[in-house]
């Protein structure tokens, strides 16, 4: 099932790459590939987080605001308050994990709808971030803390202008760990099972509520990690703009990668490819003659076309099976 979806997304990705490279000779240059992979790393990490919640049949709309709050807390605590980095980073990540636990608590114990809980989170966290930073833009400057931004800028050049950069390795680590967790650990099995049939899973003696909380914690934690990367990538940011709409990019990546919003279905390689497809699309629009005002429309259209095509293929398959 997932394998077929994976093949599909690879095919779409390849088609867009070929189309874009025919339009623009620069598209397949080492430099552009590096940028694509680098952007995919940042968005891939938050997409994987979204996949964890989606697999339980839930949703997290607060990812973008979480990126904003946790991301900005890094320059705020270090440059602003003078905290050492080794303290500020764990505090920032701890904040995201605590908020994720809070989401999970509200969803399982009070039985609130994930959409509502995380919609409130979306408004709340951005509001708090704007209030604390007073809408000023925060950065790391050129002094004592500038080495942090160098961390994401570091390039280990391979060939033809293409270089490996630290976030790529981070995505690789997160993706491998998540994929093994989902497919090779008993806890991943619990998540997949409860996403399909929560009652049967509960009646098998499994603490489904606890696993749901874990999913929200992982999602928020990865959003927090993403927040740190995004704020370092931009050498700071502004609470009004940092992470805007990123929850939707994260969810779109996960859905393109084969996650079903009904729950119980996810493939981490697929999610990474989904995140990559989004980046390839953005890049293709910018490098070809398409006017950039159309970029949202193009991305939306491609996702819709893919989802429709997938559903039609599924029906065709079912009809053929019924006939044979």
């Amino acid at each position: 099932m997932i394998d077929r979806k994976l093949l599909g997304i690879v095919a779409v990705l390849a088609a867009v790459v070929v189309a874009a490279s025919l339009q623009s000779s620069n598209f397949l240059s080492g430099g552009n590939l590096e940028t694509l992979l680098y952007r995919t790393s940042l968005y891939g990490i938050i997409s994987i987080g979204a996949a964890f919640v989606i697999v339980t049949g839930g949703i997290d709309l607060s990812i973008g605001s979480m990126i904003c709050l946790v991301g900005l807390s890094l320059p705020y605590l270090t440059v602003g308050c003078g905290w050492p980095v080794v303290v500020a980073v764990p505090v920032a990540l701890g904040l995201s994990i605590a908020l994720g636990w809070f989401h999970g608590f509200l969803v399982t114990r009070l039985d609130l709808q994930p959409f509502v809980v995380t919609l409130c989170g979306l408004l709340l966290y951005r509001g708090i971030a704007r209030w604390i930073t007073e809408d000023r833009s925060l950065g790391f400057g050129t002094g004592e803390y500038s080495w942090m931004t160098d961390l994401v800028e570091t390039r280990w050049e391979i060939a033809g202008g293409f270089a490996i950069r630290p976030p790529m390795l981070l995505l690789l680590a997160v993706a491998v760990a998540s994929s093994l967790f989902l497919t090779r650990s008993i806890y991943g099995r619990y998540l997949l099972a409860l996403g399909r049939n929560r009652e049967a899973t509960r009646l098998s003696g499994i603490r489904t509520d606890r696993m749901v909380v874990v999913a929200y914690v992982v999602c928020a934690g990865l959003a927090g990690l993403g927040g740190l990367l995004f704020v370092l990538d931009g050498n700071g940011g502004k609470a009004t703009s940092l992470g805007n709409f990123y929850e939707l990019y994260a969810i779109a990546g996960a859905v393109l990668g084969g996650c079903s919003l009904r729950g119980g279905e996810a493939s981490i390689p697929g999610v990474v490819l989904g995140a990559a497809l989004m980046q390839v699309l953005w890049s293709a629009i910018r490098q070809t003659d398409l006017s950039t005002e159309l970029e949202f429309a193009v991305v939306g259209g491609v996702i819709l076309a893919w989802v429709v095509a997938e559903e039609l293929l599924r029906r065709l398959g079912r009809r053929r099976r019924a006939a044979g």
């Binding site: 090779r184 099972a193 399909r196 499994i206």
Partner: protein, 523 residues
Amino acid sequence: MTALTPAERDPGAPLLRATGLTKRFPGVVALDDVGLEVRAGECVAVVGENGAGKSTLMKVLAGIHEPDAGSIAWRGEPVRIDSVQRAGALGIVLIHQELELCENLSVGANVLLGREPHGRFGWMSPRGVDAAARPFLERVGLRVAPSASLASLAIGQQQLVEIAKALSQDAALLIMDEPTSSLSFEESERLFGLIEDLRAQGVAILYISHRLEEVERLADRVVGMRDGRNSGELRRGGIDARGMVRLMVGRDLEVRPRQRHGVDGPPRLRVRGLRTTTWPGESVDLEVRSGEIVGLAGLVGSGRTEFLETLFGARPAVGVPAIEVAGRAQPTRSWSIRAAVAAGLALVPEDRKRCGAVLEMTIRENATLASLPEHKVAACGLLGVLDRRKERDTAETVRQRLGVRCASVEQRVAQLSGGNQQKVVLGKWLTRDAGVLLLDEPTRGVDVAAKDEIYQRMEELAARGVGLVFASSELPEVLALADRILVFHDGAVVGELPGDGATEEQVMQLAATGVGARAEESR
């Protein structure tokens, strides 16, 4: 009020005459040459065991199913009832056991749903709806404002709304499926009064109930059904519980009686004072010995499922019951599914698709779901890494021991037949070596051959010392398998019979009338 006898009121053609109705579903003949006659103003009760075909007959008359053969005449004219709309236009309305009303709308809007008085462009005035609904509410004696929200009504009042809705469609034949199953004593009394009134107005009632005392009181005629066929008829004056039980029992269900070896093993499970939230006033005790099969008989809704699920920790108990498993007292103050599983209890739930199996997952994944911690790679226990080989071995063991028919254990459970799905659900607990196995309707929706296999597995488990408790609405199956039979009625155990020597009549009489539980029932 003395009602006229039907014959005096309408000497002509009956309101409804169905003949030779036959309805087949894949693997079953639900109706086999069934006939039924109902006259205007008559109350006809249909009785029969679960699966006797009552519901199918009602659904055929109400246009939900179309019969494969047979004919229906309405007021003497042959008709084809191919949709619920068609049935409604004729004046046949089925009132389901689970009411089908919109809780978010007002009482009046519910009565006239889909037939609201409206002006041009579909505009309607709430006041107009209220006014149009009022006479029907008065006819059923419901004294609430039409503008009241439906959700604010008690369940008995909601049922009256459903009847008012039927009357607003000019119903001439009301089919009521277990109308009193969720009503209080007073609410039921009010309903019976209304039924009398409706009959006096010429409305015919087709009444399905397991509660024989109600049938005895209301029916002009009782039609028995068994194995999808007519099994006889009783007329007013000759209607009594004994006669009705005789119409119901004696199904041609071949269940090979089990070799019973006189169970004298040590007690596996002892339950004292278990109260469910549905019947907080009834306290249930149960004892199961090692190697014993205890059958829980009773009608649908008699409290067996609630008892089993509460015992398994899937529902909260009322108060603190005492539960001993293999002689060890269990921590029932903080009772949960996990505690029950840890104590060695296992449950095969009633609703296989919703609660038993994860249909979209494979046989392997389902078979190990309840015992995944035992399938970890020992070296990295904390990370919970799955040992795939061990998992496959477990699944293969389940497949072989239970005889699951499949292409491979990597097949999705959804692709299996009902019987094989049930074997997988059962198998999930074999891997845990459960000492007490609770089964709720284990053979529901399972074909005959697979039923037999499930019986065999149950017997094998008992022979190995497991204590089994199973609830079943199929009497022959209870009689054939159980060492001991507990009969449930309204949440209480109203009788205990030995498996050897008990008759279907005895069990059905207890289950349907709850004799012996009268004192509690009046509360």
